[in-house]
């Protein structure tokens, strides 16, 4: 990069354009449409959101009438117990669902990594929950969770796991586990596919060597599989964490704005749209942005994604 700059400088006096400069010009020309669109759809809205967070603005009137209130919205935010409750909900949701998904995903990945008849069908089945729209999976589960006609209660009672029917999505104690289970169903297979790719890159000779040395399967798993799977595991974990932190669809569809399960995103949208508080809702958006931004920075730094 530096070298290119030096060369460009050296040739600036010369006639015509150097190959490097011509290349750079082409590169920027090719990048221009993407950069313009990204500035328009990401840069501008982000700027406006931050700007609005320092104002009191109603969403219902357009053109907007806003007056600047300084840090007042942020002061409210820090004192808003419902906000902190939704932050806590989101963190609980993220930690529990990503934790279960990782363990379960690793298990399924190792299962599918073995050769057995019907492995292809299994892999296809793994893509189904991933491909189903989150809203659809939420509705499907909502119907399965139904307190009177739901199949979950029926199966659980037939297996004698429970002795009566529960209102899974209305009972304050069961709501969060119910919502987390749906997320686990939807994203575990995806996690498993990512980990499967990692597993398949582990050379078989390593296990062979382990067997010659008399290692049992558990030792093989701890000493060979886990260390070599670390990079794939890390990528999958971080992506899922970022995804879970902004959870909206599943919670909104299954339990609406019920405080017991309300996530940061659901609360922010309620303020922004349902209550029309564009200023306060934007301050909340910035709060979410900061929380998730910290994770993104940690991700980019810790993985050091290579460009060339």
């Amino acid at each position: 990069m530096q070298q290119t700059a030096i060369e460009a400088k050296r040739r600036r006096g010369g006639r015509g354009m150097s190959l490097e400069r011509r290349r750079a010009r082409t590169a920027w020309l090719f990048l221009a449409p993407s950069l313009i669109v990204i500035l328009l759809v990401a840069g501008y809205p982000l700027f406006r959101t931050i700007q609005l967070s320092f104002t009191q603005t109603s969403l219902l009137q357009f053109p907007l009438k806003s007056h600047v209130v300084g840090f007042l919205n942020y002061k409210f935010l820090l004192q808003d117990s419902q906000w902190w409750h939704s932050v806590l909900n989101t963190v609980v949701f993220t930690v529990v669902s990503v934790g279960i998904e990782t363990v379960l995903g690793l298990g399924i990945a190792m299962l599918v990594n073995a050769k057995f008849p019907g492995r292809g069908a299994m892999r296809t089945a793994m893509l189904i929950p991933w491909a189903i729209p989150t809203v659809v999976s939420a509705q499907m589960w909502r119907w399965m969770y139904n307190d009177v006609y739901g199949v979950i209660n029926d199966i659980f009672m037939k297996l004698h796991l429970t002795d009566k029917a529960y209102a899974w999505l209305a009972n304050p104690k069961l709501m969060m586990p119910a919502v987390i289970s749906v997320d686990v169903w939807k994203t575990t297979p995806f996690m498993a596919l990512l980990l499967l790719a990692g597993l398949q890159s582990i050379p078989g000779e390593l296990y062979e060597a382990g067997r010659v040395d008399g290692a049992n399967p558990w030792q093989n798993f701890v000493r060979v599989t886990l260390p070599l799977l670390r990079p794939a595991l890390l990528v999958a974990l971080i992506f899922r964490t970022l995804d879970a932190l902004r959870v909206f669809d599943a919670i909104y569809v299954m339990t609406g704005t019920n405080p017991n399960t309300m996530s940061m995103a659901v609360y922010a949208r309620q303020q922004l749209v349902d209550f029309g508080a564009l200023g306060y809702g934007s301050a909340m958006s910035v709060g979410i942005f900061v929380i998730i931004g910290l994770f993104v920075v940690a991700y980019v730094v810790s993985l050091g994604v290579e460009v060339d």
């Binding site: 090719f30 449409p33 993407s34 299994m122 491909a131 006609y149 596919l193 990512l194 564009l278 979410i288």
Partner: protein, 283 residues
Amino acid sequence: MRRRRGVGYYLSQVAFAILVVLVFIYLVFPFFWAISSSLKTPNELFATPLVYWPPIPQWHNYVEVFTAQPFAHNLLNSLVVAGLTTLLALLIGGTAAYALGRIRFGGKRTIFYGILGVSMFPQIAILGGMFVLIRTLHFYNTWWGLILSYMVFTLPFTVWVLTSFVREIPRELEEAAFVDGATPVQSLLRVLLPVMAPGLVTAGLLAFIQAWNEFLFALTFTVDNHARTVPVAIALFSGASQYVLPWAQIMAASVIVTVPLIILVLIFQQRIVAGLTAGAVKG
């Protein structure tokens, strides 16, 4: 070399088979239940004990989705929005991916990280600002509002997946074109584009699925069925009375939107897995 296979071996094989079957049931049961429910009469739907499969499958719920609900219009909206979003993202993102994957120039790292960062943008963080942008452009409650706002996640994602594909293409191909006197644009169109086709299909498919499934923006930037897409429609389905949800219709609609996705997944599963593991990983 053959090892002796004792009772333990066969027991573990049986345990393994049972585990596989259980996982398979866990993965597909919700979808099976949606299909079964969508084929039931109201009496079967609300029967106790539960009916696991209707003796005479009924198709009327599928008909009612289109007659009692404006679902055909929702489907059209979804197709247009997801289709145009994908085309635009491929068109704009394709050239950017070429620049990032091929050309050496100063500032590339910054741009790449910038795009990577935007691809992880939580949508909620820009909801207010995006709303203002869409209102200002008079795109509220239109296809264009959704297509524009979907660029925020499909474009960086497309650029990222395609960049990883472009990097895999052997440099000699282009050098040969360059020696033959082709300009960068010519080498992109004539040499790289055909080779990039699999990458474009993968990136396009993933972008389409993302746009097809999107909910938050679609819910916020539409107000009625003029531009309302399928996920919002399914979330907001209402029946004759406010308190009774038309579950059989909801399940029928769910099956209708999921079947095309499953067919796509079946056809392109190798590519999808490759694309997801190549670089970008969004659910």
